[in-house]
Subunit: 225 residues, 2 copies
């Protein structure tokens, strides 16, 4: 009955399947545009089609999968334009998250972010790229949590994962630089400086965008006036 052996923190097969499929998409094991055939996935995961179907619906709502009735599901296509579009949204949303986090200044959240920063420092030093990516996601989501806005949190989870998806395609060369920015963003939040926190979050995403555009070798068609 098994075949998946992941976190084991989940209580239902459905959740494991969702996590596993999301993982396969994020890591590129399932490539963009690839067809998701329920039978095959069910067999490869050792479950029936039902959990798979429900997972696919969730992933579709999160934007990782595109479903066309009666034609099936495919891994969403993430064109350069769509990837670029995501940065616009992230600047707005993560900027807000940073501002609210700075406003709230929760001690527990600060503690969490500090821990993530610490672990990330080690992971970067050791060159554990996969873990760096995971910690990056954790940091951004941690800010979302710190904002203390439940809907924002709900929205940010797929958004940040989607961003990670984009970056998994490009090299992690920017990682050290990125964590410097994270640190100063954390400090702005901990200091309670809303404007500074928002500005740093926006700048961080903007820097990521520039890096992304540079690595993918595209000239910015984006109007930046």
């Amino acid at each position: 009955m098994s075949g998946i052996t992941l976190g084991a923190a989940h209580q239902t097969l459905r959740d494991e399947v969702t996590a596993e499929l999301r993982h396969r998409i994020l890591t590129g094991e399932l490539r963009q545009g690839e067809r998701l055939v329920e039978d095959r996935l069910a067999a490869s995961l050792g479950v029936s089609r039902n959990p798979v179907r429900e997972s696919i619906r969730v992933l579709a709502a999160e934007g990782f999968v595109q479903v066309v009735p009666r034609l099936g599901a495919t891994v969403a296509l993430l064109s350069q334009e769509e990837a670029d579009e995501l940065f616009d949204v992230r600047m707005a949303v993560e900027g807000l998250a940073a501002r609210l986090a700075a406003r709230k200044r929760s001690a527990a959240s600060a503690e969490l972010l500090r821990t993530v920063l610490e672990q990330a420092g080690e992971a970067v030093a050791d060159g554990r790229l996969e873990q760096v990516a995971a910690l990056n996601t954790a940091f951004h989501l941690g800010i979302g949590e710190a904002a203390g806005n439940s809907y924002l949190t709900l929205m940010m989870k797929p958004m940040v994962q989607r961003a990670q998806w984009i970056f998994s395609r490009t090299a992690a060369a920017r990682a050290p630089h990125s964590w410097t920015e994270h640190l100063s963003l954390y400090e702005a939040i901990a200091a309670g400086d809303e404007d500074d926190a928002q500005a740093r979050a926006v700048a961080h995403v903007a820097a990521a965008r520039r890096s992304f555009l540079a690595e993918t070798g595209r000239t910015a068609t984006h109007r930046n006036d």
Copy 2:
């Protein structure tokens, strides 16, 4: 085999069920915290449990439903705090949408928005409140479309519907005023003035928040510095 008779634009029962459940939640026919028992819903809709289950997963990802493994699904609770939180997110996201829409200035989108404004004027005059609400949603989503950012569009759909959900609980007294704001927002977008468009969108949401807080009789604990 039927029981639902809605738009008929859908191709699968699952989509109809999702739309119907969402509708029942938005209209309050399914009340907050109410348990969603799969058997009962399936029977009441004349379908089997499968489409219902998949719908519930989608609605959970959209934030309308809360699912606890093995305990079942309930209509999400929308506390005053959470409702208030939503306004923060909307200001950020809809502000961005308005800015991008102004940047893009698509003729087709302008046409759509104009049509919605026109119909809304009539609906308000005739006092067709339900249609006013639907047109309100259409207008906001139309701006999302006009922004030409696919991820933003994906995100805005549940967000705007959630906002409508909140307002369905309060009187529609603000409607005429709201549509005046919509008009000027449309004009700013059509004129291509990004800053103005964003500002008007943010102001519109802020006005809605004030109205909401006033109607629900809460003093703003929100720090507005």
